[in-house]
Protein backbone atom coordinates (compact mmCIF):
# COMPACT_ATOMS: atom_id res chain seq x y z
CA UNK A 1 0.00 0.00 0.00
CA UNK A 2 1.34 3.34 -1.03
CA UNK A 3 0.63 5.80 1.77
CA UNK A 4 2.31 8.81 0.24
CA UNK A 5 3.27 9.10 -3.38
CA UNK A 6 6.75 10.33 -4.25
CA UNK A 7 5.23 13.40 -5.88
CA UNK A 8 3.58 14.36 -2.65
CA UNK A 9 6.85 14.32 -0.71
CA UNK A 10 7.20 18.00 -1.65
CA UNK A 11 4.62 20.55 -2.79
CA UNK A 12 7.17 21.56 -5.39
CA UNK A 13 6.14 18.51 -7.34
CA UNK A 14 2.54 19.70 -7.71
CA UNK A 15 2.79 22.00 -10.69
CA UNK A 16 -0.15 24.25 -11.41
CA UNK A 17 1.05 26.06 -14.47
CA UNK A 18 4.21 25.89 -16.49
CA UNK A 19 5.66 27.73 -19.44
CA UNK A 20 9.23 27.12 -20.51
CA UNK A 21 11.33 27.32 -17.34
CA UNK A 22 8.64 29.29 -15.55
CA UNK A 23 6.82 27.03 -13.22
CA UNK A 24 4.03 27.91 -10.81
CA UNK A 25 3.60 25.17 -8.29
CA UNK A 26 1.72 24.77 -5.01
CA UNK A 27 4.68 26.08 -3.01
CA UNK A 28 4.58 29.41 -4.80
CA UNK A 29 0.80 29.55 -4.63
CA UNK A 30 0.68 29.00 -0.89
CA UNK A 31 3.61 31.35 -0.41
CA UNK A 32 1.57 34.03 -2.11
CA UNK A 33 -1.38 33.12 0.08
CA UNK A 34 0.69 33.50 3.24
CA UNK A 35 2.14 36.74 1.89
CA UNK A 36 -1.35 38.02 1.14
CA UNK A 37 -2.55 37.13 4.62
CA UNK A 38 0.43 38.79 6.29
CA UNK A 39 0.48 41.93 4.17
CA UNK A 40 -3.31 42.26 4.02
CA UNK A 41 -3.73 41.68 7.73
CA UNK A 42 -0.93 44.10 8.57
CA UNK A 43 -2.40 46.74 6.31
CA UNK A 44 -5.87 46.29 7.76
CA UNK A 45 -4.61 46.53 11.33
CA UNK A 46 -2.02 49.26 10.87
CA UNK A 47 -4.03 51.65 8.71
CA UNK A 48 -5.70 53.05 11.83
CA UNK A 49 -2.89 52.89 14.30
CA UNK A 50 -3.11 54.89 17.44
CA UNK A 51 -0.24 56.17 19.49
CA UNK A 52 -2.60 57.03 22.34
CA UNK A 53 -3.28 54.87 25.36
CA UNK A 54 -6.44 53.30 23.93
CA UNK A 55 -5.57 50.91 21.09
CA UNK A 56 -7.36 48.06 19.38
CA UNK A 57 -6.83 44.45 20.37
CA UNK A 58 -5.20 43.60 17.04
CA UNK A 59 -2.81 46.47 17.39
CA UNK A 60 -2.00 45.21 20.86
CA UNK A 61 -1.36 41.77 19.45
CA UNK A 62 0.97 43.06 16.75
CA UNK A 63 2.75 45.34 19.21
CA UNK A 64 3.33 42.39 21.52
CA UNK A 65 4.73 40.30 18.64
CA UNK A 66 6.99 43.08 17.41
CA UNK A 67 8.08 43.90 20.96
CA UNK A 68 9.07 40.27 21.55
CA UNK A 69 11.03 40.19 18.30
CA UNK A 70 12.74 43.48 19.15
CA UNK A 71 13.51 42.23 22.63
CA UNK A 72 15.07 39.03 21.35
CA UNK A 73 17.17 40.91 18.82
CA UNK A 74 18.22 43.49 21.40
CA UNK A 75 19.49 40.77 23.71
CA UNK A 76 21.91 39.68 21.01
CA UNK A 77 22.92 42.82 19.22
CA UNK A 78 22.70 45.19 22.23
CA UNK A 79 21.98 48.12 19.92
CA UNK A 80 20.26 48.95 16.64
CA UNK A 81 17.64 46.20 16.98
CA UNK A 82 15.22 47.97 14.65
CA UNK A 83 17.73 47.52 11.84
CA UNK A 84 17.29 43.73 11.92
CA UNK A 85 13.59 43.58 12.67
CA UNK A 86 12.46 43.39 9.00
CA UNK A 87 14.62 40.33 8.22
CA UNK A 88 14.25 38.41 11.48
CA UNK A 89 10.62 39.41 11.99
CA UNK A 90 9.65 38.47 8.46
CA UNK A 91 11.41 35.12 8.75
CA UNK A 92 9.56 34.39 11.98
CA UNK A 93 6.16 35.59 10.80
CA UNK A 94 6.35 33.90 7.42
CA UNK A 95 7.50 30.52 8.80
CA UNK A 96 5.14 30.70 11.77
CA UNK A 97 2.05 31.53 9.69
CA UNK A 98 2.99 28.90 7.10
CA UNK A 99 3.38 26.24 9.76
CA UNK A 100 0.23 27.20 11.70
CA UNK A 101 -1.95 27.21 8.57
CA UNK A 102 -1.23 23.52 8.21
CA UNK A 103 -4.35 22.90 10.29
CA UNK A 104 -6.43 24.28 7.41
CA UNK A 105 -7.46 21.29 5.33
CA UNK A 106 -5.86 21.30 1.87
CA UNK A 107 -3.16 23.77 2.87
CA UNK A 108 0.40 22.67 2.37
CA UNK A 109 3.02 24.65 4.23
CA UNK A 110 5.53 26.25 1.81
CA UNK A 111 8.12 25.53 4.49
CA UNK A 112 7.69 21.83 3.85
CA UNK A 113 9.40 22.49 0.51
CA UNK A 114 13.15 22.41 0.62
CA UNK A 115 13.23 24.98 -2.16
CA UNK A 116 11.56 27.46 0.17
CA UNK A 117 13.73 26.65 3.17
CA UNK A 118 16.81 26.80 0.97
CA UNK A 119 15.70 30.19 -0.34
CA UNK A 120 15.19 31.45 3.21
CA UNK A 121 18.53 30.06 4.37
CA UNK A 122 20.18 31.66 1.35
CA UNK A 123 18.68 34.98 2.32
CA UNK A 124 20.23 34.57 5.76
CA UNK A 125 23.49 33.46 4.17
CA UNK A 126 23.55 36.69 2.17
CA UNK A 127 22.28 38.81 5.03
CA UNK A 128 25.12 37.89 7.38
CA UNK A 129 27.90 39.41 5.23
CA UNK A 130 25.56 42.19 4.12
CA UNK A 131 24.98 43.40 7.67
CA UNK A 132 28.60 42.73 8.63
CA UNK A 133 30.03 44.72 5.74
CA UNK A 134 27.46 47.49 6.01
CA UNK A 135 28.37 47.92 9.65
CA UNK A 136 32.13 47.49 9.78
CA UNK A 137 33.30 47.57 6.17
CA UNK A 138 34.44 44.91 3.71
CA UNK A 139 38.02 44.66 4.90
CA UNK A 140 37.15 43.89 8.48
CA UNK A 141 34.60 41.35 7.38
CA UNK A 142 36.97 39.52 5.04
CA UNK A 143 39.72 39.60 7.65
CA UNK A 144 37.49 37.60 9.96
CA UNK A 145 37.77 34.63 7.58
CA UNK A 146 41.52 34.55 8.09
CA UNK A 147 41.39 34.58 11.87
CA UNK A 148 43.30 33.41 13.77
CA UNK A 149 45.38 32.37 10.71
CA UNK A 150 44.73 32.05 6.99
CA UNK A 151 44.55 28.26 7.39
CA UNK A 152 41.14 28.72 8.97
CA UNK A 153 39.70 30.33 5.86
CA UNK A 154 38.31 27.07 4.39
CA UNK A 155 36.84 26.13 7.74
CA UNK A 156 35.10 29.48 8.02
CA UNK A 157 33.66 29.04 4.53
CA UNK A 158 32.60 25.52 5.32
CA UNK A 159 31.02 26.75 8.54
CA UNK A 160 29.00 29.35 6.67
CA UNK A 161 27.81 26.84 4.11
CA UNK A 162 27.11 24.08 6.58
CA UNK A 163 25.02 26.22 8.86
CA UNK A 164 23.04 27.46 5.89
CA UNK A 165 22.49 23.88 4.89
CA UNK A 166 21.56 23.06 8.49
CA UNK A 167 18.99 25.84 8.53
CA UNK A 168 17.53 24.58 5.27
CA UNK A 169 17.32 20.95 6.21
CA UNK A 170 16.19 21.46 9.82
CA UNK A 171 13.10 23.42 8.90
CA UNK A 172 12.32 21.39 5.83
CA UNK A 173 12.81 18.08 7.69
CA UNK A 174 10.66 19.05 10.63
CA UNK A 175 7.72 20.37 8.69
CA UNK A 176 7.81 17.91 5.85
CA UNK A 177 8.19 14.93 8.15
CA UNK A 178 5.39 16.16 10.35
CA UNK A 179 3.03 16.44 7.41
CA UNK A 180 4.00 13.00 6.25
CA UNK A 181 3.57 11.59 9.77
CA UNK A 182 0.10 13.08 9.92
CA UNK A 183 -0.69 11.62 6.50
CA UNK A 184 0.51 8.17 7.57
CA UNK A 185 -1.33 8.34 10.89
CA UNK A 186 -4.55 9.29 9.10
CA UNK A 187 -4.24 6.08 7.16
CA UNK A 188 -3.36 3.98 10.23
CA UNK A 189 -5.47 5.51 13.05
CA UNK A 190 -7.94 7.91 11.52
CA UNK A 191 -9.50 9.00 14.82
CA UNK A 192 -8.24 11.15 17.70
CA UNK A 193 -4.54 10.45 17.44
CA UNK A 194 -3.99 12.63 14.34
CA UNK A 195 -5.66 15.52 16.25
CA UNK A 196 -3.09 15.23 19.02
CA UNK A 197 -0.37 15.15 16.41
CA UNK A 198 -1.86 18.22 14.78
CA UNK A 199 -1.68 20.05 18.07
CA UNK A 200 1.88 18.92 18.51
CA UNK A 201 2.50 20.00 14.94
CA UNK A 202 1.32 23.54 15.76
CA UNK A 203 3.75 23.67 18.66
CA UNK A 204 6.59 22.34 16.52
CA UNK A 205 5.73 24.79 13.76
CA UNK A 206 5.95 27.80 16.08
CA UNK A 207 9.12 26.48 17.71
CA UNK A 208 10.73 25.91 14.32
CA UNK A 209 9.85 29.43 13.26
CA UNK A 210 11.38 30.75 16.46
CA UNK A 211 14.49 28.58 16.02
CA UNK A 212 14.99 29.67 12.41
CA UNK A 213 14.61 33.34 13.24
CA UNK A 214 16.75 33.18 16.35
CA UNK A 215 19.52 31.18 14.64
CA UNK A 216 19.55 33.69 11.81
CA UNK A 217 19.92 36.47 14.31
CA UNK A 218 22.62 34.53 16.15
CA UNK A 219 24.60 34.17 12.93
CA UNK A 220 24.27 37.82 12.15
CA UNK A 221 25.05 38.82 15.73
CA UNK A 222 28.07 36.54 15.96
CA UNK A 223 29.48 38.06 12.81
CA UNK A 224 28.80 41.56 14.15
CA UNK A 225 30.21 40.89 17.59
CA UNK A 226 33.31 39.16 16.24
CA UNK A 227 33.95 42.14 14.06
CA UNK A 228 33.19 44.48 16.89
CA UNK A 229 35.65 42.68 19.15
CA UNK A 230 38.35 42.68 16.48
CA UNK A 231 37.67 46.30 15.76
CA UNK A 232 37.88 47.17 19.45
CA UNK A 233 41.12 45.20 19.87
CA UNK A 234 42.72 47.02 16.94
CA UNK A 235 41.64 50.35 18.39
CA UNK A 236 43.08 49.47 21.79
CA UNK A 237 46.38 48.44 20.24
CA UNK A 238 46.48 51.65 18.25
CA UNK A 239 45.81 53.79 21.31
CA UNK A 240 48.30 51.75 23.39
CA UNK A 241 51.06 52.30 20.83
Amino acid sequence: MEVVSLNQISPDQVILWSWNFITINVTILYTWLVMAILVGGSHLITRNLSSEMNVSRWQHFLEVVISIIRGEISEMTKKGADHYVPLVGTLFLFICVSNVLVIVPGFVAPTSSMTTTAALATCVFIAVPFYGISRNGLLHYVKEYFQPTFIFFPFHVMGELSRTLALTVRLFGNIMSHEKVIGILLAVTPFLFPVVMQILGLLIGVIQAYIFAILSMVYIASALSAEDEAHTAVKKEGSGA
Binding site: S10, D12, T27, I28, T46, Q59, I66, S67, D82, C123
Partner: protein, 256 residues
Protein backbone atom coordinates in the same frame (compact mmCIF):
# COMPACT_ATOMS: atom_id res chain seq x y z
CA UNK B 1 16.03 16.13 -3.24
CA UNK B 2 15.06 18.08 -6.30
CA UNK B 3 15.35 21.82 -6.26
CA UNK B 4 13.63 23.86 -8.94
CA UNK B 5 15.90 26.83 -9.41
CA UNK B 6 13.17 29.03 -10.77
CA UNK B 7 11.06 28.34 -7.71
CA UNK B 8 14.14 28.86 -5.56
CA UNK B 9 14.75 32.30 -7.06
CA UNK B 10 11.03 33.04 -7.00
CA UNK B 11 10.92 32.21 -3.29
CA UNK B 12 13.91 34.47 -2.61
CA UNK B 13 12.15 37.24 -4.51
CA UNK B 14 8.91 36.48 -2.68
CA UNK B 15 10.66 36.65 0.66
CA UNK B 16 12.39 39.92 -0.14
CA UNK B 17 9.09 41.33 -1.41
CA UNK B 18 7.34 40.18 1.75
CA UNK B 19 10.11 41.74 3.81
CA UNK B 20 9.67 45.04 1.99
CA UNK B 21 5.88 44.98 2.28
CA UNK B 22 5.92 44.07 5.94
CA UNK B 23 8.50 46.73 6.61
CA UNK B 24 6.22 49.22 4.95
CA UNK B 25 2.87 48.07 6.34
CA UNK B 26 3.83 46.50 9.64
CA UNK B 27 7.17 47.18 11.28
CA UNK B 28 7.51 50.80 10.31
CA UNK B 29 4.03 51.72 11.43
CA UNK B 30 3.96 49.61 14.55
CA UNK B 31 7.41 50.67 15.71
CA UNK B 32 6.57 54.28 14.97
CA UNK B 33 3.32 53.98 16.94
CA UNK B 34 5.14 52.36 19.85
CA UNK B 35 7.92 54.91 19.78
CA UNK B 36 5.41 57.74 19.59
CA UNK B 37 3.52 56.31 22.54
CA UNK B 38 6.75 55.87 24.44
CA UNK B 39 7.70 59.45 23.69
CA UNK B 40 4.27 60.63 24.77
CA UNK B 41 4.50 58.64 28.00
CA UNK B 42 7.97 60.01 28.59
CA UNK B 43 6.66 63.51 27.89
CA UNK B 44 3.78 62.94 30.27
CA UNK B 45 6.15 61.66 32.89
CA UNK B 46 8.36 64.67 32.37
CA UNK B 47 5.32 66.91 32.55
CA UNK B 48 4.14 65.13 35.67
CA UNK B 49 7.55 65.49 37.23
CA UNK B 50 7.63 69.16 36.31
CA UNK B 51 4.16 69.59 37.76
CA UNK B 52 5.18 67.70 40.85
CA UNK B 53 8.26 69.86 41.23
CA UNK B 54 6.11 72.93 40.71
CA UNK B 55 3.58 71.68 43.21
CA UNK B 56 6.31 70.97 45.72
CA UNK B 57 7.73 74.44 45.16
CA UNK B 58 4.29 75.97 45.58
CA UNK B 59 3.68 73.89 48.67
CA UNK B 60 6.98 75.10 50.07
CA UNK B 61 6.08 78.71 49.25
CA UNK B 62 2.66 78.23 50.78
CA UNK B 63 4.23 76.77 53.89
CA UNK B 64 6.65 79.67 54.05
CA UNK B 65 3.86 82.19 53.57
CA UNK B 66 1.79 80.42 56.16
CA UNK B 67 4.66 80.59 58.59
CA UNK B 68 5.14 84.28 57.88
CA UNK B 69 1.45 84.90 58.40
CA UNK B 70 1.56 82.99 61.65
CA UNK B 71 4.52 85.00 62.83
CA UNK B 72 2.81 88.21 61.77
CA UNK B 73 -0.35 87.12 63.52
CA UNK B 74 1.64 86.38 66.64
CA UNK B 75 3.27 89.81 66.52
CA UNK B 76 -0.05 91.55 65.89
CA UNK B 77 -1.66 89.57 68.67
CA UNK B 78 1.12 90.56 71.06
CA UNK B 79 0.84 94.18 70.03
CA UNK B 80 -2.92 94.09 70.43
CA UNK B 81 -2.57 92.45 73.84
CA UNK B 82 -0.05 95.03 74.93
CA UNK B 83 -2.22 97.86 73.60
CA UNK B 84 -5.24 96.40 75.35
CA UNK B 85 -3.25 96.11 78.59
CA UNK B 86 -2.06 99.67 78.27
CA UNK B 87 -5.58 100.85 77.55
CA UNK B 88 -6.90 98.85 80.47
CA UNK B 89 -4.28 100.32 82.78
CA UNK B 90 -5.07 103.78 81.49
CA UNK B 91 -8.78 103.28 82.00
CA UNK B 92 -8.17 101.78 85.42
CA UNK B 93 -6.03 104.77 86.31
CA UNK B 94 -8.70 107.13 85.05
CA UNK B 95 -11.40 105.33 86.98
CA UNK B 96 -9.23 105.29 90.06
CA UNK B 97 -8.65 109.01 89.69
CA UNK B 98 -12.37 109.59 89.26
CA UNK B 99 -13.10 107.42 92.23
CA UNK B 100 -10.48 109.30 94.22
CA UNK B 101 -11.98 112.59 93.14
CA UNK B 102 -15.46 111.46 94.09
CA UNK B 103 -14.14 110.07 97.32
CA UNK B 104 -12.29 113.27 98.10
CA UNK B 105 -15.35 115.28 97.23
CA UNK B 106 -17.48 113.01 99.31
CA UNK B 107 -15.04 113.22 102.22
CA UNK B 108 -14.98 117.00 101.90
CA UNK B 109 -18.71 117.07 101.83
CA UNK B 110 -18.79 114.76 104.80
CA UNK B 111 -16.35 116.96 106.62
CA UNK B 112 -18.45 120.02 105.82
CA UNK B 113 -21.54 118.33 107.03
CA UNK B 114 -19.66 117.15 110.07
CA UNK B 115 -18.42 120.66 110.70
CA UNK B 116 -21.89 122.07 110.21
CA UNK B 117 -23.29 119.45 112.47
CA UNK B 118 -20.74 120.12 115.18
CA UNK B 119 -21.12 123.81 114.75
CA UNK B 120 -24.81 123.46 115.19
CA UNK B 121 -24.27 121.02 118.06
CA UNK B 122 -21.87 123.42 119.70
CA UNK B 123 -24.35 126.24 119.37
CA UNK B 124 -27.12 124.19 120.84
CA UNK B 125 -24.88 122.68 123.51
CA UNK B 126 -23.56 126.09 124.44
CA UNK B 127 -27.03 127.55 124.67
CA UNK B 128 -28.15 124.59 126.67
CA UNK B 129 -25.05 124.75 128.85
CA UNK B 130 -25.45 128.43 129.20
CA UNK B 131 -29.07 128.06 130.18
CA UNK B 132 -28.21 125.19 132.49
CA UNK B 133 -25.25 126.97 134.05
CA UNK B 134 -27.22 130.11 134.40
CA UNK B 135 -30.06 128.27 135.98
CA UNK B 136 -27.64 126.44 138.23
CA UNK B 137 -25.74 129.57 139.18
CA UNK B 138 -28.91 131.47 139.88
CA UNK B 139 -30.21 128.52 141.86
CA UNK B 140 -27.00 127.96 143.77
CA UNK B 141 -25.94 131.59 144.41
CA UNK B 142 -27.86 134.65 144.78
CA UNK B 143 -26.23 136.66 142.08
CA UNK B 144 -26.49 136.97 138.41
CA UNK B 145 -24.32 134.81 136.15
CA UNK B 146 -23.55 137.86 134.12
CA UNK B 147 -21.94 139.40 137.15
CA UNK B 148 -19.65 136.42 137.49
CA UNK B 149 -18.84 136.64 133.83
CA UNK B 150 -18.12 140.32 134.08
CA UNK B 151 -16.04 139.63 137.15
CA UNK B 152 -14.03 137.06 135.30
CA UNK B 153 -13.67 139.41 132.34
CA UNK B 154 -12.46 142.19 134.59
CA UNK B 155 -10.05 139.83 136.31
CA UNK B 156 -8.58 138.94 132.94
CA UNK B 157 -8.21 142.59 131.99
CA UNK B 158 -6.44 143.27 135.20
CA UNK B 159 -4.21 140.24 134.78
CA UNK B 160 -2.90 141.42 131.42
CA UNK B 161 0.86 141.50 131.21
CA UNK B 162 2.80 144.58 130.06
CA UNK B 163 3.42 143.29 126.57
CA UNK B 164 -0.21 142.54 125.96
CA UNK B 165 -1.20 145.91 127.38
CA UNK B 166 1.21 147.65 125.07
CA UNK B 167 -0.13 145.78 122.04
CA UNK B 168 -3.67 146.73 123.01
CA UNK B 169 -2.67 150.28 123.48
CA UNK B 170 -1.12 150.42 120.02
CA UNK B 171 -4.19 148.75 118.59
CA UNK B 172 -6.52 151.23 120.18
CA UNK B 173 -4.42 154.09 118.91
CA UNK B 174 -4.29 152.58 115.39
CA UNK B 175 -8.03 151.84 115.37
CA UNK B 176 -9.16 155.41 115.84
CA UNK B 177 -9.41 155.11 119.65
CA UNK B 178 -12.51 152.97 119.43
CA UNK B 179 -13.19 149.96 121.61
CA UNK B 180 -16.09 147.62 121.19
CA UNK B 181 -17.42 145.40 123.97
CA UNK B 182 -19.77 142.65 122.85
CA UNK B 183 -21.80 140.54 125.21
CA UNK B 184 -24.58 138.06 125.08
CA UNK B 185 -26.42 139.98 127.64
CA UNK B 186 -26.99 143.58 128.63
CA UNK B 187 -24.26 145.08 130.82
CA UNK B 188 -25.55 147.31 133.60
CA UNK B 189 -24.19 150.86 133.79
CA UNK B 190 -22.11 150.31 137.00
CA UNK B 191 -20.39 147.35 135.40
CA UNK B 192 -19.72 149.50 132.25
CA UNK B 193 -18.04 152.06 134.44
CA UNK B 194 -15.93 149.36 136.09
CA UNK B 195 -14.82 148.09 132.71
CA UNK B 196 -13.86 151.60 131.56
CA UNK B 197 -11.93 152.20 134.73
CA UNK B 198 -10.00 148.97 134.44
CA UNK B 199 -9.23 149.73 130.80
CA UNK B 200 -8.06 153.23 131.57
CA UNK B 201 -5.97 151.97 134.40
CA UNK B 202 -4.53 149.00 132.66
CA UNK B 203 -4.13 150.27 129.12
CA UNK B 204 -4.81 153.85 128.16
CA UNK B 205 -6.98 156.90 128.26
CA UNK B 206 -8.74 158.73 125.54
CA UNK B 207 -10.95 156.22 123.81
CA UNK B 208 -14.63 155.81 123.25
CA UNK B 209 -16.26 152.58 124.20
CA UNK B 210 -19.24 151.03 122.53
CA UNK B 211 -21.36 148.23 123.98
CA UNK B 212 -23.09 145.80 121.68
CA UNK B 213 -25.61 143.17 122.61
CA UNK B 214 -24.62 140.14 120.51
CA UNK B 215 -26.37 136.86 121.30
CA UNK B 216 -23.70 134.93 119.27
CA UNK B 217 -21.14 135.60 121.95
CA UNK B 218 -22.29 132.63 123.91
CA UNK B 219 -22.71 133.41 127.60
CA UNK B 220 -19.73 135.64 127.46
CA UNK B 221 -18.19 139.01 126.99
CA UNK B 222 -15.44 140.11 124.72
CA UNK B 223 -13.45 143.23 123.94
CA UNK B 224 -12.53 143.90 120.35
CA UNK B 225 -10.10 146.51 119.23
CA UNK B 226 -8.60 146.72 115.75
CA UNK B 227 -8.04 142.99 115.37
CA UNK B 228 -7.27 142.26 119.05
CA UNK B 229 -9.66 140.50 121.37
CA UNK B 230 -9.96 139.84 125.07
CA UNK B 231 -12.83 137.63 126.00
CA UNK B 232 -14.37 135.19 128.30
CA UNK B 233 -17.24 133.05 127.25
CA UNK B 234 -18.57 129.57 127.56
CA UNK B 235 -17.18 129.00 124.03
CA UNK B 236 -13.79 128.02 125.40
CA UNK B 237 -15.31 125.33 127.53
CA UNK B 238 -17.72 124.38 124.87
CA UNK B 239 -14.90 124.00 122.34
CA UNK B 240 -13.18 121.57 124.68
CA UNK B 241 -16.46 119.76 125.06
CA UNK B 242 -17.03 119.75 121.29
CA UNK B 243 -13.52 118.49 120.61
CA UNK B 244 -13.96 115.61 122.97
CA UNK B 245 -17.40 114.95 121.50
CA UNK B 246 -16.03 115.07 117.93
CA UNK B 247 -13.32 112.65 118.83
CA UNK B 248 -15.83 110.29 120.32
CA UNK B 249 -18.11 110.54 117.29
CA UNK B 250 -15.28 109.89 114.85
CA UNK B 251 -14.22 106.86 116.80
CA UNK B 252 -17.77 105.62 116.65
CA UNK B 253 -17.92 106.28 112.91
CA UNK B 254 -14.67 104.40 112.29
CA UNK B 255 -15.82 101.55 114.46
CA UNK B 256 -19.03 101.37 112.40
Amino acid sequence: MHIDWFVFLAQIFNFLLLMYLLKRFLYGRIIKAMDDREAKIAARFAEAEALQAKAQEEARLYEQRNQMLNEKKEVMLNEATMAADAKRRELMEKVREEVDTVKTRWQEMLLREQDAFFYDLRQRAAKQLYATARKALSDLADEELEDRIIEEFLRRLQALDAEKSRQLRLAITGGGNRVTVQSAFGIPAPRQSQIEEVLKKQITNGFTIRYLHEPDVVSGIELRVNGHKIAWSLNEYLETLVESLTETLQKEAHAA
